[in-house]
């Protein structure tokens, strides 16, 4: 089943300081792709390729200028009802700036349920919060901490726990592991892959790290300057890239094992 289908998506921004007031910059141009149930689709590209703008449209943080998006077969309206907002959750790159520094971790998780009472689990709050934290490998003690008292990796788990507390069906991860140290990165990647199995989650995984993408993606979408230049099964895109830009990206990416250059 197709969870998300995007067609002809176009997003423009006004260009500041242009003589012609109407000049607009096209951040995403005619993007079309799908995310199937239980599938991890990665969007790769360099800065300015439009991958984050694309993600923001999918979660409803930005209205596209044109194009259609359907979620589980039904069109996604411009104004999303709470139920749809809940079903599509996002995890951002910088875990610290996406958590309210004045709220304890427990309150951050609870707040999600106050906003969407339909998915609030029954039982005492302390227990349900602890269970939500345990689901991402965090100690119940973390509930009593402020984000500033946690490491970057722990904060990213809290962001993930908050998103998962709402039982989303599509999780959008925007560079969700990029800011993490490598030894912590594999913990979070493991967790994402496990969650895909246990919760039948679908994921849109935005990343510039081709190595990470190769490890977890089922399909890959390659973006350049707002356009999708290539997409296909991860194995095919990596082994037999069709577009010259995909080849350039792969050529430029460093490997660890080819040591002994000069």
């Amino acid at each position: 089943m197709t969870v998300l289908a995007v067609e002809g998506l176009r997003v423009t921004f006004p260009v500041r300081g242009s003589l012609l007031r109407r000049a607009r910059f096209t951040a995403v141009d005619d993007a079309a792709f799908t995310v199937g149930e239980n599938e991890i689709v990665a969007v790769v590209g360099e800065s300015g390729s439009g991958k984050t703008t694309l993600a923001r449209c999918v979660v409803g943080l930005r209205r596209p200028d044109a194009g259609a998006m359907t979620f589980e077969g039904a069109p996604l309206p411009a104004r999303r009802p709470p139920e749809l907002k809940r079903a599509i959750q996002m995890v951002f790159q910088d875990p610290r700036s996406s958590l309210n520094p004045r709220m304890k971790v427990g309150a951050i998780i609870e707040e999600a349920w106050l906003t969407h009472p339909s998915v609030a689990p029954p039982g005492p709050r302390a227990d349900t919060v602890e269970a939500a934290l345990a689901g991402v490998g965090l100690d119940g003690e973390a509930a009593d901490r402020y984000p500033a008292q946690l490491s970057g990796g722990q904060c990213q788990r809290v962001s993930l726990a908050r998103a998962l507390a709402l039982s989303p069906r599509l999780l959008v991860c925007d560079e969700a592991v990029s800011a993490l140290d490598v030894s912590v990165q594999s913990q979070v990647l493991r967790l994402l892959v496990e969650l895909r199995e246990t919760r039948r989650l679908s994921m849109l995984f935005i990343s510039h790290d081709l190595g990470v993408v190769h490890q977890i993606a089922d399909r890959v979408v390659v973006m350049r300057a707002g356009r999708i230049v290539e997409q296909g099964p991860a194995g095919t895109v990596f082994a037999d890239p069709r577009h010259e830009y995909t080849r350039a990206l792969l050529d430029a990416a460093l490997e660890l094992n080819d040591i002994g250059m000069t």
Partner: protein, 322 residues
């Protein structure tokens, strides 16, 4: 010995809430002339702090122990005057974020030439050398672009300008702190190539600070792996990455995914990286280490030579190597 920079028993204490925190603990390593040494470590490992100790830009209240010998001068005791004379001339630095380290209100050319102008080089010569340097780092149309402001440069060009600034006075040591981390991959490869080329042409030594093992494997000849402010191991880059002598390095190497082949997600280390403020007893890595014994919990392992040129701060280094 042709060691340009020799760091011996370096310790740095920073004031913390519950008293001083030893952010760098007994770190020793050498940087031979013309060689690139990589300092690798995760958040809180102290890698940037070591670079800051060398260039004399530690935060206020820092207490430094041990010695940093640079071409015969001890940088710990030489005093601010001497340090200022060395900075920019003999020792220069490239920072991660060029936008934050370039002055947005000054033209690129002026900033690149500042160190020359301050040492009394005539204006016309400064201008010529700036244009020549910008040309060497690959800034197109350098005479014209020297008159641009930093915001008119792309991220990659800004980093090239930073490199020009660091290299213009022909330093014998360049400190580079995550010089390509903020760049896109295609730009990163070109900037790394440029750094390497310039370093060879100039015969400068480089202390490269990074968390990126892939970058390190391409640029560094020697590696120093740091964990919680201490040296975990050091040796030639090929041997450290190819055959680690510390369980932490081994875990790091395994956790780097390949790009062109599909690799399984590495078995993650348990827990998070230790930070100096809450450094575990004995070996700081022991709570995450699969080989930890009772000795690791109580006795701090100091680096010892486990093979020629290989130093490991692991009680069980022989087991890791075998």
């Amino acid at each position: 010995m042709n060691d340009l920079l020799r760091i011996t028993g370096l310790s740095v204490d920073l004031p913390g809430q519950g008293g001083p925190v030893r952010v760098i603990d007994e770190v020793s390593f050498d940087v031979p002339a013309g060689v690139t040494v990589g300092l690798i470590g995760e958040t809180g490992s102290g890698k940037t702090m070591i670079a800051m100790s060398v260039i004399g830009l530690l935060p206020e209240g820092a207490a430094v122990g041990g010695s940093i010998s640079f071409a015969g001068t001890d940088l710990v005791t030489c005093g601010p005057e001497r340090l200022r004379a060395l900075r920019g001339h003999e020792i220069s630095m490239i920072f991660q974020d060029p936008m934050a380290s370039l002055n947005p209100t000054q033209r690129i050319g002026r900033q690149v030439g500042e160190v020359l102008r301050r040492s009394g080089v005539p204006r016309a010569e400064v201008r010529d050398r700036v244009v020549e340097m910008l040309d060497r780092v690959g800034v197109p149309d350098p005479a014209r672009r020297a008159r641009d402001y930093p915001h008119e440069f792309s991220g990659g060009l800004r980093q090239r300008a930073m490199i020009a600034m660091a290299m213009i006075a022909h330093p014998s040591l360049v400190l580079a702190d995550e010089p390509t981390t903020a760049l896109d991959v295609t730009v990163q490869a070109r900037v790394l190539g440029l750094l390497r080329k310039l370093q060879v042409e100039e015969g400068a030594a480089m202390l490269l600070v990074s968390h990126d093992l892939r970058v390190m494997s391409h640029v560094a000849q020697d590696l120093v792996v740091l964990y919680a402010g201490r040296v975990a191991e050091r040796g030639s880059a090929a041997s450290v990455l190819g055959r680690p002598a510390h369980p932490y390095t081994r875990a790091l190497v395994r956790s780097v995914p390949a790009v062109r082949t599909r690799t399984a997600i590495a078995d993650p280390l348990p827990g998070t990286a230790a930070v100096p403020a809450r450094r575990p007893s004995g070996c700081a890595f022991h709570p995450r280490c699969p080989l930890a014994t009772g000795r690791c919990r109580s006795e701090i392992p100091r680096p010892r030579e486990v093979a020629p040129g290989r130093w490991s701060a692991c009680h069980e280094a022989e087991k890791v190597l075998s």
